[in-house]
Assembly symmetry: C2
Homo-oligomer: 621 residues x 2
Amino acid sequence: MDFEKMAKELVAQMTFAEKMSQMRYEAPAIERLGIPAYCWWNEGLHGVARSGRATVFPQSIGMAASFNEELMLKVANVISDEARAKYNEYKKFGDTEIYQGLTYWSPNINIFRDPRWGRGHETYGEDPYLTGRMGTAFVKGLQGNGKYRKVDATLKHYAAHSGPEKGRLSFNAVVNEKDLRETYLWAFKYCIDNADPSALMGAYNRTNGEPCCGSKTLLKDILREEFGFKGYVVSDCGAICAINNEHKVTENYAESAALAVNNGCDLNCGDAYKWLKTAAALDLVSEETITACVERLFTARFRLGMFADDCEYDDIPFDVVESDEFAAINREMAQESIVLLKNNGILPLKKDLKIAVVGPNADSKDVLLGNYHGVPSKYYTILRGLQQYTGVGYAQGCTLFEVPNRDWGITVREALVEVKNADVVIMCMGLDPTMESEDGDAYNAQTGGDKVTLELPDVQNELYEEILKLGKPIVYVNVSGSCINLSKQKDQCDAVLQCFYPGAMGGLALADILFGKVSPSGRLPVTFYESVDDLPDFTDYSMENRTYKFFKGTPVYEFGYGLTYSEIEENWIDENAVEITNKGDFDTKYSVLKFEYIPHKNLCGFKKVFVKKGETVTVKF
Amino acid sequence: MDFEKMAKELVAQMTFAEKMSQMRYEAPAIERLGIPAYCWWNEGLHGVARSGRATVFPQSIGMAASFNEELMLKVANVISDEARAKYNEYKKFGDTEIYQGLTYWSPNINIFRDPRWGRGHETYGEDPYLTGRMGTAFVKGLQGNGKYRKVDATLKHYAAHSGPEKGRLSFNAVVNEKDLRETYLWAFKYCIDNADPSALMGAYNRTNGEPCCGSKTLLKDILREEFGFKGYVVSDCGAICAINNEHKVTENYAESAALAVNNGCDLNCGDAYKWLKTAAALDLVSEETITACVERLFTARFRLGMFADDCEYDDIPFDVVESDEFAAINREMAQESIVLLKNNGILPLKKDLKIAVVGPNADSKDVLLGNYHGVPSKYYTILRGLQQYTGVGYAQGCTLFEVPNRDWGITVREALVEVKNADVVIMCMGLDPTMESEDGDAYNAQTGGDKVTLELPDVQNELYEEILKLGKPIVYVNVSGSCINLSKQKDQCDAVLQCFYPGAMGGLALADILFGKVSPSGRLPVTFYESVDDLPDFTDYSMENRTYKFFKGTPVYEFGYGLTYSEIEENWIDENAVEITNKGDFDTKYSVLKFEYIPHKNLCGFKKVFVKKGETVTVKF
C-alpha cells in the first residue's frame, strides 16, 4: 500500500491550522476528517514501559552484554507483541492517552562515552558497532516485517548526547568531525541503513553550537540528505522551548519552533509548537514545510494501520502479555546479560553449601527494573531467585548509600551473623536506578543523576570490609548499570560477577548461573575503569583516552571481557572464519568477537554460538 | 535460684554513681564487678524486630482477630526462640547494642479506643478482655517457663494511652474512674495476675494530670501496691524529659528524673537519668530508692541468665530463625487473622476463573510488615500468594494516596484492562503502615500519623468506582490496621474481607482462604464504624459512645463479626457450655465468643475450636 499517498490525500484536506495541530505529540482529533486524537509518546526501552503489566527485560546495557543479536530480535518481537496487545485493549476504551499508542521512543543508541553518565544504562554501551547491531535487531523486532508496521521505533537522542544530565538543556557538546562520524553518528547511520527506523528523536543539547532539535547540520545536511532518512523526527520533551529558554540561540518560542520545523523536526514533545501559528504569521515557516512534516507523520500513522481494518496486529490478544513463552525468552536474555569477571573455581556453587546472601541489592525489586520500565507481576529478586534452588540466609546489612536510621534496624552486624553461619557469602552490592538516573532523585541529585565517582558508597564499602575480615569465600555480585571500580573485589573475592539491571527474571537467571544450570556468557559492553581520575573531564566530548579504543590506562576489566564456566579456544582460520572449541567441562554459549586494528582496536564483528563440551563450531563472518 | 538475692549482693558492691548509671537503657559496663554493658531496648511486637532476619507474624491487631490464644502462645514461643538465637549470635561478637538484648518492649496492650489512632494496629483491639487474654498468651510465650526467663516481656504503654499521636508528649488524658478501671487498666492487671510480666513501660502522656512515667497514682498506688507488680518499670523513650519540657509539671530534668524514680520508674529510655546525680545532690532522690530500682533491674538480668553459664537457652541455634516449622505457625496465624465480612457465595473461588488482582496493596511488601517489624527473607505479597495457586492478571491501578506522577505509568485504565479481561477481580485497597503510624511520615503526617477520616483516599475511591462500572464480580480485600468505612463495599461487592497487616506469609494465607484451602475464621477485634462523625472527639477519653460496648450508632460491621465458609450453629446448654455444630460443607475453625450483659454487652470468654463438617464440638468455659 502507498501509505505516503494516503497521507498526502488526507493532509490535503486539512486547513493550515489543523496541520499545525497535528505536529504536537498530543495531537487533537479532527473530527470532520474522521481523525481521532493521538498521543505519540510511548516508551519501550526494555519492555513496554509505564503502561502497566509487561514482560520487563534486562535494562539495555545488560542486553548489550549478551552480544546476542538474534536473542535481541526475539526480545523486541515480544515487546511489540505486548505493545500491540495493549494498544488493542486501550482502543476498546477509546483511549488516546500517553503510553497507549504505537509510537515508541526507543531505543537509546547513544554512546556510553563516560561512566559518569546517569542514563548510560539505557544504551548498548560504549562501542558504536555493537550499538548499531543491537539497535538494528531491536528496531527490526519492534517494527516487524508485515504489511503494516508493528510499532514505530525511534532512534534517540540525535546526536552526541551522553551527559552531563545537569544542565543538559543548555549544554554544548563540542565534537570533532572524526569522533562525530566514527562514534556519535555511526550507530544512527547503521540502524538507518539496516533497519529502516520509523523515527528519530533530537537531543536536548547543542552539538557544535547548534541545538540538536533545530540543527541544519545534523537534521538536514546529514540525516536527511546524506543518510537519506525518510522517517519523522520528534523533539526530546521540552527541547524546542529550550532553544530560546536555555540555549539562547533564538529570541522566543516562535523562532524556536520555526528553526526546528525548518530543519525537519516534524513532531514536538513539549509546548513549543503551540507557537507555530505565530511563526507562520511572521513568515518564519511556510505552509509547504508544515505540510511535508504532517505528511511524514500521517504516513507513519497509515503505515501503522491506525486507519485500516485489516491490520494483522489487531488480533493480538491481551493474554500474550507476560506469557510463559515470553518469560522464557526473558530468562534467557537475563542469563546472557550477566558477566562473569572472576572465578577461582568456587562457581558453580557446590551442593549443600550453606549460603548467606547479603547486601542492599539482594532483595531489591528496583534494581531488576532499571528505568523506563513496565510492571512485572512475576519477578525474582536475587534473593528469591536463589531460594528457587536452596534455602539461604539473608541480611541487607546496609542501605545503598544512606547511613541507616537506627529504627530501621539495618546493621552490618546482622550481615556478619549470617555470614558467620554460612559456608559462602553472596554479596549483592552496587547502585540502583535512582543513583544513576535521568532525574537524579536521590544519591546523585546534586549532579542531576550523574555519578561523581566509580566507588561504592561508604556504607557499602564498610560492609564489604567487615565481611572480608571473616575470611569466608565471597561471591561478589555487582549490580549496576555502569562501571564501578572493582579492583578490590578482583583481588580479594573468589568470584566476581557484573549483573546489570537484569529484569523481572534477573534473580532467577543469576541463580541459574551461580548454581550451574547454565554457563555465563555475557561480555562487558563498557570498559570497567578504576577511577574517573584516569579519564578526561566529563564534559569533554573528544574520544581521546576514552573507551577500549582510545583509553591509555589499564582498565580493571576491559570491554568485551567475560568468562564462561568452560574453556574455550578460538582458532582463527582466516580473518573471516574461526573455529570455537569447547575444551572444558560445561556446555556453554560463547560470543566470539572480531576486532580490527585501524590502528586502534575496533570491534567489527561478533557472533554468539552454543558449543557443547568437547565440540567445535566454526563461525564465519 | 534466688535472683533477687543475687541482685542485692551485686548491687551492694556498686557505688552510688554506678547504681545510677545502670538505670539508663544503655547501661555501661562496670568492669571491676564483671558486669558488661547492656542495652535494654529491644522490640518484638509481632516477631523479633529491627534486628535482621526473623519470622514476621501478622501485626498484633491481626493476631487478635484470630481469637486464638493457644496459637498466640505458639507464636510468642517462636519469637522468644528467635530472640534467644539472635542473642546467642550477638554474644559471640561481644555486642551490646540496641536491638540485641533480651528485654523486649512488647506487647502493646493499650485499648484501641478510637479508630483514628495511628498506632492502633499495634494493639489487640478495643476490648480489654480480649487484650488481656491475648496479652497473657504473648507474655507467657515470650518469657517461657524455664529455670531462667527466656526473654522479658514489657507491657506498654501504662496507662490510658491511645492517641492522638501529635502532641502525645504534652497530652493529658482525662479518664473517669470507671473507664480507667474497666477499660484502660483492666488488661494490665489481667496480664500481671496471669502472666507475671517482667516489665512495664510508662506512657508519654499525662493521665488525669499526672505524667504517666512519674505518676504516683498509676505507678505506686495502683501498679505496685494494688496490683502487686514485682517487675521493673521503664519509661517510654524521652518521656521523662517531657515531664518538664512538654508537660511542664516539673521545672527541670533533675526534678523530672526524681519524680519518675521516686514513683518507681526504674529504667529510663532517653537521657533524663543523666540528671539523677544532680537530683541526688539536691536530695530529690535517696540512695535507698535508687538501690531498690537497680536491684529490680539486676534481678531481671540474673533471671535472664545473663551472668550464668547454665542457661537452657544458650544453645538455641541460629538456624531456628525462619525455620519451616515457624513458617507453618506463621501461615496458620495469618490465615486466622483474616476476617471474612461478606460472601454471596463467590468464595471460595471456583477453579478456572480468570482472575485480575488490582490495587495499591496487591503487591505491597510494606503492608505485610506493619510497624516494629523484622525482615523476612521469604514473604508473599497478596499477588504472589495468589500466584502460588494460579496465574492472575495484575495492575496497581492507583497509588495508595498520591496523585500518580505521569512518569510512573500507574493508571486506572491499566486496571480496567485487566478487569475487563478477567472473570472476577480481587481488589486490594486500604492503607499501609506509613498512613497510620507513630511517626506520620506520609499521608497523615500533619496529624502525627493519626487518621482524620475512615474513608479510603480519593485515588482509591476513584479506582473502585471505575471498576464497579465494569460490572464484574468483586472480591474486595481491605488491607489496613484499623477500621475503614466499608459500607459501600458491603452493599456493592460480592465478597469483602478484612486483612490486617498479615505478616510474611500474608499473601499465601489470603490465597489459602480465597481458594478454599482453609475456611476463614477471624473475627473483628474492633468495631468497623461508618464515620468519625458518629464518634466523640478523638481527644475524649470517655468510653461513652465508643467500642461495641457503648457505641450508640449502627456499625458497618460489629466487634466480633466474622464469617466462615461453613454454617455454624451455637447451641448454648448453659452459660458455661455450648455445642458448636458444623452444618455446612466446609471443615472450619471457629471462635465461640461468650458475652455477658452488665448491662452493656461485654466479652467474657472465647475459645477457638476446629469443627469438621457434620460434627459437633462442645465447648466449656
